[in-house]
């Protein structure tokens, strides 16, 4: 007779986190596609005069437009790391505490090396995921600084000028641009692994990982969290 499990519904991702997540995903997809095109434009063979077309200009415009959305959305998420619930808290992203390091070890053994089956009990981000997101935040920052640094030369607005210092620091536009390009690959590789792992967790743990970023709810085994509020458990039973 297998042991019985009672699942409780926990509201993990609040609306601002979910909106941030999908806006961010949209921005990254658009920035990667337009960025790639900026680096390797499709050359159309056309006899018409340049003044009748503007497609490359449009691609760049879309890149810059979503660059702004991406950056301010990111800033908002940083703010929500203080204002949001415990699962959104900035503390999840940096393993300061011993418990977090123990969980890092456990996640590596259970999910990556798969030499162990002990349950990982965290409800929000597990410690490895959280720490990975810390690095993606650094990558966001890097991409925004290099991007706006490059953009400063093409813009009269004061905002991109705030990032102009990166150009002399990195030795010139050329290397800023190259590293900006290289980091696109970080975003692509991250996205592949991220999407896979979401499916993996949903499949193995059955806690509703995939739908949680739509609904906000996860389904957590009650025995791991006996302190789970009755209200949430009751909610699951209707």
């Amino acid at each position: 007779m297998p042991k019985t499990t009672t699942l409780g519904r926990v509201y993990v991702w609040e609306i601002p986190v979910r909106v941030y997540h999908w806006l961010n995903a949209l921005c990254i997809v658009i920035l990667c596609v337009t960025g790639y095109l900026i680096g390797a434009p499709i050359a159309i063979q056309r006899a018409s005069e340049a003044s009748f077309a503007y497609w490359f200009g449009k691609v760049r415009f879309i890149h810059f437009l979503f660059a702004y959305v991406f950056f301010f959305n990111f800033l908002f998420r940083l703010y929500w790391g203080w204002a949001g619930n415990r699962y959104a808290s900035w503390r999840n992203f940096i393993p300061f505490r011993k418990r977090q390091w123990e969980e890092v070890k456990a996640v590596i053994a259970v999910d990556i090396l798969q030499v162990d089956d002990q349950p990982i009990e965290t409800i929000g981000h597990n410690a490895v995921a959280g720490f990975t997101y810390f690095f993606t935040f650094l990558a966001f920052l890097f991409q925004a600084i290099t991007g706006f640094g490059l953009y400063a030369a093409m813009s009269k607005s004061w905002f991109p000028q705030l990032f102009a210092w990166i150009v002399p620091l990195m030795g010139g536009d050329f290397s800023v641009r190259q590293w900006h390009h290289v980091f696109m690959w970080f975003f692509i590789l991250f996205s592949i692994v991220h999407v896979y792992l979401v499916f993996y967790h949903d499949y193995v743990e059955g806690r509703g990982e995939i739908s949680s970023m739509g609904s906000g709810w996860k389904f957590i085994e009650k025995e791991y969290h006996p302190h789970m509020k009755e209200k949430t458990v009751a909610a699951s039973k209707k």
């Binding site: 297998p2 042991k3 019985t4 499990t5 009672t6 699942l7 680096g39 390797a40 434009p41 499709i42 050359a43 159309i44 063979q45 056309r46 006899a47 340049a50 003044s51 009748f52 077309a53 503007y54 497609w55 490359f56 200009g57 691609v59 798969q114 089956d117 030369a153 093409m154 102009a164 210092w165 150009v167 002399p168 030795g171 010139g172 536009d173 050329f174 290397s175 641009r177 190259q178 390009h181 290289v182 696109m184 690959w185 692509i188 590789l189 592949i192 692994v193 896979y196 993996y200 499949y203 193995v204 059955g206 039973k237 209707k238």
Partner: protein, 376 residues
């Protein structure tokens, strides 16, 4: 007329037989070079009438003399002459008549007599490998000479890419440890005038600014005069509408090349290169590389030799050999990631088999729990 012992620039020009008309024309040219409005012609003229000639020491270290060649070909002959005349070029290896001891004496005279007043122009990088023996003049290393001269200089102008960022001499593997001047000298204002060579008018413009206003021009984050280096070649390129329209040359012999489309895909460095080529052009405004169908190679930007190949937009990724770009590498990493994920997915189904089975079975229990509650 000022009672200064040194003649003013105008006095000196008169001695050389320059007419008032030519002098004023040159002043107007210089005003234009500085990017100043018409009203400033009077200011420039006044400055040149009243200011004594600045003593100048022009050093040649690890260089090819292309900067000097460019300079003496300033488009307006009057400007070139007057500038050469109106600075008092007390020492310059390639143009002075003196040699040997006479030359060294001239150098020392200026350094002692005009301490704190002379202008130091440096063409070429300075080798620091093997204690600097790769470049010695009069038995002394370039570094030694530069340090001594810089100590008494009013300002230092780094001519060309060699002095500003090292140029070809400090391209990998940089056997002589060629170093741009700003990394070796401090305590004196340094103005960088990069380019291989810099455009003649940019060079004269920088000097004229120093002469006219007696202070260094406004410079950008990398120390280059903003008047000439604040815009990218790309921003002033006449092919730019093709870029925005997405009309690109695909190979140097295609139809698009004939039509004069944008050279971006041929590796043009215009979008990352700060210089005045698109506006001032070369040889008296005749043409510039892009106008003759070749992309910009970024000659005024640091590291431009190592950012190759010149004919590809993306450079080789450092450490992965030639012809490997970030995109090649990214694609390989992407493929490796997919393989890794596939392996992990298979492993999951094998190693977590028991767990998954258990979960499927326990799921019914939850439904039972709910059934107990309300009855379905």
């Amino acid at each position: 007329m000022p009672t200064n012992s040194r003649p003013t620039i105008w006095e000196h020009a008169q001695d050389k037989g320059v007419s008032r008309r030519d002098f004023l024309a040159a002043c107007a040219w210089m005003t234009a070079l500085l990017g100043l409005p018409n009203e400033s012609v009077a200011q420039v003229t006044k400055a040149l009438e009243t200011k004594p000639r600045i003593p100048v020491l022009w050093f040649h270290f690890q260089e090819c003399t292309c900067c000097s060649e460019s300079f003496i070909r300033s488009s307006h002959p009057g400007v070139a002459d007057i500038i050469l005349d109106k600075i008092s070029l007390d020492y310059t290896e390639t143009l002075m008549a003196a040699s040997g001891k006479q030359a060294e004496d001239a150098l020392h005279d200026t350094m002692t007599k005009y301490k704190g007043e002379y202008l130091m122009l440096v063409e070429g990088s300075i080798p620091t490998g093997a204690n600097g023996v790769y470049c010695c003049i009069g038995g002394r290393t370039a570094l030694d000479i530069a340090r001594e001269a810089a100590a008494g200089a009013k300002a230092l102008v780094a001519w060309g890419s060699c002095a500003s960022n090292g140029c070809v001499q400090n391209a990998k593997p940089n056997p002589t440890k060629a170093t741009p001047i700003h990394e070796l000298i401090s305590g004196v204002p340094i103005i960088k005038v990069p380019g291989c060579p810099p455009i003649a008018e940019v060079m004269t413009g920088t000097i004229v600014h120093l002469l006219t206003f007696d202070r260094i021009p406004q410079v950008d984050g990398l120390g280059r005069p903003k008047a000439f280096y604040s815009r990218r070649v790309h921003d002033t390129c006449y092919r730019r509408p093709n870029y925005d329209a997405g009309l690109f040359v695909n190979s140097f012999d295609d139809e698009n090349a004939k039509r004069g489309y944008c050279l971006y895909k041929m590796g043009c460095r215009g979008p990352v290169t700060y210089n005045s080529c698109g506006v001032m052009r070369w040889n008296g405004g005749t043409s510039f590389p892009i106008q003759s169908g070749h992309g910009c190679i970024g000659c005024s930007e640091g590291n431009f030799w190592d950012n190759g190949p010149f004919y590809h937009h993306l450079p080789n990724f450092p450490g992965f050999g030639i012809e490997t770009t970030a995109d090649d590498l990214g694609l390989k990493l992407g493929a490796a990631t997919l393989v890794g994920i596939g392996a992990h997915a298979i492993s999951t189904n094998i190693r977590k088999h028991r767990l998954l089975k258990e979960e499927r079975e326990t799921s019914e229990v939850v439904q039972d729990g709910r059934a107990e509650q309300g009855g379905s």
